[in-house]
Symmetry: C2
Subunit: 388 residues, 2 copies
């Protein structure tokens, strides 16, 4: 079963209402994960453009896979019959599967929400699908992840406090049904999800009532759905302050390197985000201080690597000029090399963050990042950012 | 400079009018190439879906790159200024560049052929381009390949004997101009190209007259352009029989594994073909006896590797069911894993062929391949083959 050890705790700076930053070790059936950790997203059973061996080579100890996508194609029973998701995608380290809720609410048309669950049409073949707390658990048991998530209603933004409460209450009832439905608690850790929109009192209450369920871990969901950053952090802090200290805390769908350090300073242990892989396919590379857009004509004859301080294979072997040429030519190698670099960059951010937490120097790290950002030469325009 | 050693020569079976099969070692500025060798095609400075390191890891000692594509994007001067193609694409083994002639004749619209050269419009940006023997050499010197090719007119099919002769005479005049234009004969081996369409007497004459130019190697071009197999081999045999025995012989654009063994038996040393990489992107994998189409529903739950006798990473780590899922989901990992497998398959074919030549057992190898083909379970339909 899962075991979570807090290894080091930063001094409580009192700057934030959450909980102090910490490092830890999350022991799961398929191995140990050093926290704070960032999980690359392997939506359809593959971290896009990468082999599983390459993701492990970078250093990642855990990935996320999407229940919604794998349920629809190739089907969770197919994956179960082939020995489970680890074997299917040749990844022998821990996997976290989400519940599919977020995708049902964001990607599916024709959905119908009831107390029982949510009905929707498969975008793959139009088939009628039904997701309930019990089905979400059953599908995740078929996939066989080390950490599985309760089905929640991902509250839209903006909502009134009344709507947010109604949605939160449903999420709490569903969490309880998920716990009851689970048959593999021995080898799968079920995490609850705190909802409550931008209302700190709801976030607090949700966290407290979930804590009563005594689950092995807790996520904060419904973040970064369009709300201002202050509201995001107010909600996060309210939730974290009322989650049990001995359980891992996971901020779903977060974020940029700056977001990661912001959340770690508030007590978060786990993250996942499509950002590094998605922007790579659009020709964007993370470098110290910002992101560069490899399509930019200024790189056409640039012999330098993406980032001169980076030790990933892309930076060791290939120039910006070559990467730009690949991207402009539509070559598969372009997203491959940019994805590898971005995943390496995020991994190194987490290494730096873990070290900073251990040395009680997160503020110093953040200061260095801010200086690098100020000195950065190619600030992305608004238009660029939206193009992702 | 280039040095070619014939290592082993099969006994002349008398079955073919070409020359006996042989193994050799082609020493070039960037290393040695064991022949007969198959060259993967890196059209735009990348063997599609692969890193250069991976291509080397399979075992390949030489690749081909396309002058036409690299001239148009990113431009041969850009590549020269960045240190040449080897450095640009991080491939430190030998490279052969073609002259661009074949692509001008097959891909460009608005082309105008004169004695001087051929004018065409760039499909990248519409710019007017001009390719002459002198320009073809200049571009290839900028790229910096170990072997460069003369500019030839790729004779269309079908043509009358008169048209074929006119075209062949132009090719011969251009070959001489290429030789005169070359300034880097010290570190680039210029190969001539035998044309002559399906007329053996023209092929013979072209080979003899090219041999008089005393070039370091010779290719047979204008093959597999729609002519029947008998005509292809009659033309090839006529050419090979009159090319100097101490120079490498290269069959351009050939071919399937069966074609490779057919040509080796007629004295060919070098091959290139987009087949293994192109069909991979269409979901096709070479296996013993034939090709399978991974889209086929029969593989949806198939836990076996593509080829149970194969030791490539794709076959060691991933099932047909997973590969089908990736392909159906449009994941980049699908062409990656299928390309790696197909390139490994072709490399192993050449290993088997070289060993068979050394043991004077090419006929035995061909017999085994024929038995495997007869026993093959998923014969491709005509429609399937056309879909490539």
């Amino acid at each position: 079963m899962m075991r979570f050890q807090v290894l080091q705790k930063a001094a409580d700076s009192g700057r934030f209402a959450g909980a102090p930053a910490r490092t830890g070790l999350l022991n799961l059936p398929h191995g140990a994960v050093r926290t704070p950790a960032f999980l690359p997203v392997g939506t359809q059973g593959t971290v896009k453009a990468m082999t599983s061996e390459e993701v492990a080579l970078i250093g990642y100890e855990m990935i996320l896979a999407n229940t919604y996508h794998l349920r629809l194609r190739p089907g969770d029973e197919v994956i179960r019959d082939l020995g489970g998701l680890h074997r299917f995608m040749h990844w022998d380290r821990p996997i976290l599967t989400d519940s599919g809720g977020y995708q049902v609410f964001s990607l599916s048309r024709l959905r119908k929400l009831t107390e029982e669950g949510v009905e929707f049409a498969s975008p793959v073949d139009g088939a009628r699908e039904f997701l309930s707390p019990e089905r979400a658990i059953q599908i995740q048991e078929n996939l066989g992840g080390d950490v599985i998530m309760v089905l929640d209603e991902c509250t839209p933004y903006p909502v009134t406090p009344e709507e947010a409460r109604t949605s939160m209450e449903l999420t709490l009832r569903w969490a309880e049904r998920c716990r009851k439905a689970q048959t593999r608690a021995r080898d799968q850790a079920l995490f609850g999800i705190v909802q409550g929109s931008v209302y700190p009192e709801l976030r607090r209450e949700c966290a407290r009532r979930l804590a009563d369920l005594d689950l092995p871990g807790y996520a904060v969901g419904g973040l970064s759905v369009g709300e201002p950053k202050e509201d995001l952090y107010a909600g996060l802090e309210a939730a974290v302050a009322h989650l049990p200290e001995d359980r891992p805390r996971y901020a779903m769908g977060i974020g940029t390197p700056e977001d990661l350090v912001d959340c770690v300073e508030r007590g978060i242990d786990l993250f996942d985000c499509v950002m590094p892989t998605r922007v790579a396919r659009n020709g964007r590379a993370y470098v110290r201080g910002g992101r560069i857009n490899i399509r930019n004509a200024r790189y056409a004859r640039d012999p330098r690597p993406l980032d001169e301080t980076c030790e990933c294979p892309t930076c060791r072997h290939y120039s910006r000029a070559y990467l730009r040429h690949l991207h402009q030519s539509g070559e598969i190698l372009a997203p491959r090399l940019l994805t590898w670099h971005n995943l390496h960059f995020f991994y190194q951010c987490m290494v730096d963050i873990r070290r900073a937490v251990g040395e009680d120097a997160v503020g110093k790290l953040r200061g260095r990042w801010e200086r690098e950002a100020a000195a950065f030469e190619e600030p992305e325009t608004e238009g660029d950012a939206r193009a992702d």
